[in-house]
C-alpha cells in the first residue's frame, strides 16, 4: 500500500469519483476533479463509458491531449458528436444520463447544494458563480455525485439557497416536487465518502480517508451525522490510477500539491 505521502488528497478524491462510474454508463461530465474522475474511469475499468459535456460535446474516446476545460480544442477533436446544449440537455431530460458529477460550496443533510448565495439572496454574504448545468444535472440525471471540500461552514443543517436539489426535506420529496428521477448517490469530500439512507434520505458517513478520524468528520459537520456500521476506510489510489491521473493532469493544476483544488 502506498504511504500517504505518495498521493494528494485530490488524487484520492478523483480515484473515488472514478469508482462511482460503471462500464458502459453515460456520464454527464463536469469541470475539475469530476472531469478527471471520468477520464480515469474511461481509461481503467469503464472503457466503454460515454462522456457528455454541456457545451455540446459527446465523446466515446479519450481526448488526444490533456485539457483544463471542456472547451479546450483536444476535447473537440474526434468527438463522437459536436452539437448544441439543447441536444445534451435533451439526452439528460429524457433520462438517458446514468450519472453526473457536481461540485458544491455548501451542502446539507439531504444533499441539497448551494453554489449561488451564501447567507441567502436577501442578505448575501458571498456570491458564488451559480448553477451552470449543476441544477439540471441534480434534477434530471439518474444519479449524481457531489465532490467538495469538507468544512463546518460548508456542511450545514440547511443550505441558505438551493441551487441544485438533493433530497429536499427527505423521503419522497423529489416525487412530490415533480422531479422525474434521481438524487445524489454519494458525496466525496476531503474527509470521507458519504451515501444516503434509502428511507430517510439523510446523508450517512460511509468511509473515511486514511489519516482522518470519525471525530474529525463530526467536528466539521453542522448536524448530528449518522455513521455506517461498519465504517470503512476510503481505498487509496493504486499506482496505475495515479499514473493515469498524472497523465491527464500533467502539470498538477488540479491534483498536484498546492494545486487549485488542494489550496
Amino acid at each position: 500500500m502506498l504511504p500517504q505521502s505518495e498521493y494528494t488528497l485530490s488524487q484520492l478524491m478523483v480515484a473515488a469519483a472514478s469508482r462511482e462510474i460503471n462500464d458502459k454508463e453515460v456520464v454527464f461530465v463536469g469541470m475539475r476533479l469530476p472531469m478527471l474522475g471520468f477520464l480515469l474511469a474511461k481509461s481503467t475499468h469503464a472503457t466503454e463509458s460515454i462522456g457528455i459535456y454541456e457545451l455540446g460535446v459527446v465523446r466515446d474516446r479519450l481526448s488526444p491531449e490533456p485539457v483544463l476545460t471542456m472547451g479546450d480544442l483536444p476535447n473537440l477533436t474526434h468527438a463522437q458528436w459536436l452539437a448544441n446544449t439543447a441536444d445534451m440537455m435533451g439526452l439528460l431530460q429524457q433520462g438517458l444520463v446514468d450519472v453526473s458529477f457536481i461540485g458544491g460550496a455548501q451542502v446539507d443533510r439531504f444533499g441539497n447544494l448551494n453554489t449561488s448565495y451564501i447567507g441567502g439572496y436577501e442578505s448575501v454574504k458571498i456570491r458564488l458563480p451559480g448553477s451552470g448545468g449543476a441544477c439540471d444535472l441534480s434534477c434530471l440525471a439518474k444519479r449524481h455525485i457531489i465532490i467538495m471540500s469538507h468544512e463546518k461552514r460548508r456542511f450545514v443543517e440547511r443550505v441558505d439557497y438551493i441551487t441544485s436539489p438533493g433530497y429536499g426535506e427527505g423521503f419522497e420529496w423529489r416525487t412530490r416536487t415533480g422531479l422525474p428521477r434521481g438524487g445524489p448517490s454519494a458525496v466525496i469530500t476531503t474527509l470521507g465518502v458519504f451515501r444516503f439512507d434509502p428511507q430517510s434520505k439523510e446523508m450517512i458517513l460511509q468511509s473515511i480517508h486514511p489519516g482522518v478520524t470519525e471525530e474529525q468528520v463530526m467536528a466539521n459537520t453542522g448536524w448530528n451525522l449518522k455513521t455506517a456500521s461498519p465504517l470503512f476506510q476510503t481505498p487509496i489510489p493504486t499506482e496505475k490510477e495515479l499514473a493515469m491521473i498524472k497523465k491527464f493532469d500533467p502539470s498538477g493544476y488540479w491534483t498536484g500539491p498546492g494545486s487549485a483544488t488542494e489550496s
Binding site: 472547451g71 480544442l73 474526434h78 439543447a86 451559480g130
Partner: protein, 303 residues
C-alpha cells in the same frame, strides 16, 4: 444584390448596443467568446446593459468592472479554471447588480422560446430549487395534457446577439464549427446579430457548405473582421485557449484598483484588432497555434 454588412467594430457596437439594451454574448460557452467585441463595449462606455449568457467565463466580469452592466441573466458567472470572479462578487454583494439566476437548461429554453416566437417553454429542471426566488422568468406549471408538474421558462428576446465565428462573407452568412452550445438559439431569438469573424471570405466558400452556417445572413445586422477576436478563449481551427491569461486575470482583478490597471492595459489602450494582436504578442500567438490538424472529409452538396 446583397449589400455588404461589413463595418468597423466601433460602428457596429455603437449602432447595435445602446445604453440599457440587452446583449447575448458568449453563447458557445468556453469556446468562441467574443472578448474583443466585449472590450469594445467597455471602450464605448455603454451603460446599464443586461447581459445574457450560459456561462460567461471572465467576460461578464470584465464588463461589470467596466461599469457597463445593470443586470445579469446567466447560468454561471466566474472564471472557469479558477472559480469566482471578483467584480461580479463585489457587485452582487453590494447589491448594485440585478440577477436573474438561470441554469444552463432554463437559459437554453428561454432563448429557444424566443427563437420559436412563443412566450415560454416547459422543462423538468429547476423543480425544488430556489432559482424561482431569484428569477422572475421561472414559474411552476401543470402540463395541460398529462397534469405533470413542470417549470415554465419565460422567453428571452435579446436586443443583440454578439457571436464570434471562424469565417463570414460580407453579408453575414457565417461558418461556425466546434461545439455550438446555444449560439443558434441566441441568434434566432435576438432582434439584431453582430458577427465578429476570424476571416472574411467569398460567399461561394460559405455556400459550398450550408450546413455549417450559423444563421441566414438576412438576419444579421453587422459583420466585423476581428482576427484573434475570441482570444484568450479558443477558436476551433484557429487557436487554442490561453489558460495563463485566465489565471493572470484572476490574479490581477482582485480589487477594483487592480482591475482598472488590467483594463488600462488590455482594453483602454487597445483600439483595434492590430493593437489586440500586438498586445497578445507573436510569442503567445505562436504557442497557441493549431499544431495537430484534423481536417474533415469533404461533403458533396451537388445535384
Amino acid at each position: 444584390m446583397s449589400v455588404s454588412k461589413l463595418t468597423t467594430l466601433s460602428e457596429g457596437i455603437d449602432r447595435l448596443v445602446s445604453d440599457g439594451s440587452s446583449v447575448a454574448i458568449g453563447m458557445a460557452q468556453e469556446t468562441l467568446i467574443p472578448f474583443f467585441a466585449g472590450h469594445e463595449i467597455i471602450r464605448r462606455k455603454k451603460r446599464n446593459l443586461t447581459l445574457i449568457g450560459p456561462i460567461s467565463d471572465i467576460l461578464f466580469d470584465q464588463l461589470i468592472g467596466g461599469n457597463c452592466v445593470e443586470q445579469i441573466c446567466a447560468g454561471w458567472v466566474g472564471n472557469v479554471i479558477t472559480g469566482s470572479c471578483y467584480n461580479f462578487r463585489r457587485a452582487v454583494e453590494n447589491k448594485s447588480l440585478k440577477m436573474e439566476d438561470h441554469s444552463n437548461l432554463t437559459l437554453t429554453m428561454a432563448l429557444f422560446a424566443g427563437a420559436m416566437g412563443v412566450p415560454f417553454m416547459p422543462t423538468r429542471t429547476a423543480l425544488g430549487s430556489d432559482l424561482y426566488q431569484t428569477n422572475s422568468g421561472l414559474k411552476i406549471m401543470s402540463c395541460p395534457f398529462t397534469g405533470e408538474t413542470l417549470t415554465a421558462v419565460s422567453a428571452i428576446r435579446p436586443d443583440t446577439a454578439i457571436i464570434h465565428v471562424q469565417r463570414s462573407d460580407p453579408y453575414g452568412n457565417a461558418h461556425i464549427w466546434g461545439n455550438l452550445a446555444i449560439v443558434k438559439e441566441a441568434c434566432m431569438a435576438s432582434r439584431n446579430i453582430l458577427i465578429t469573424a476570424e476571416e472574411i471570405v467569398d460567399s461561394e466558400i460559405i455556400s459550398s457548405d450550408p450546413n455549417r452556417v450559423a444563421v441566414p445572413g438576412f438576419k444579421v445586422s453587422a459583420v466585423v473582421h476581428a482576427p484573434w477576436g475570441a482570444y484568450p478563449s479558443p477558436v476551433p481551427g484557429y487557436y487554442n485557449r490561453d489558460h495563463q491569461a485566465f489565471i493572470d486575470y484572476r490574479n490581477k482583478s482582485k480589487t477594483d484598483t487592480d482591475f482598472k490597471k488590467w483594463q488600462a492595459i488590455w482594453v483602454d489602450s487597445v483600439p483595434d484588432s492590430d493593437a489586440y494582436m500586438a498586445r497578445i504578442g507573436i510569442e503567445r500567438m505562436t504557442a497557441l497555434s493549431i499544431t495537430h490538424h484534423v481536417v474533415s472529409a469533404s461533403a458533396d452538396f451537388g445535384y
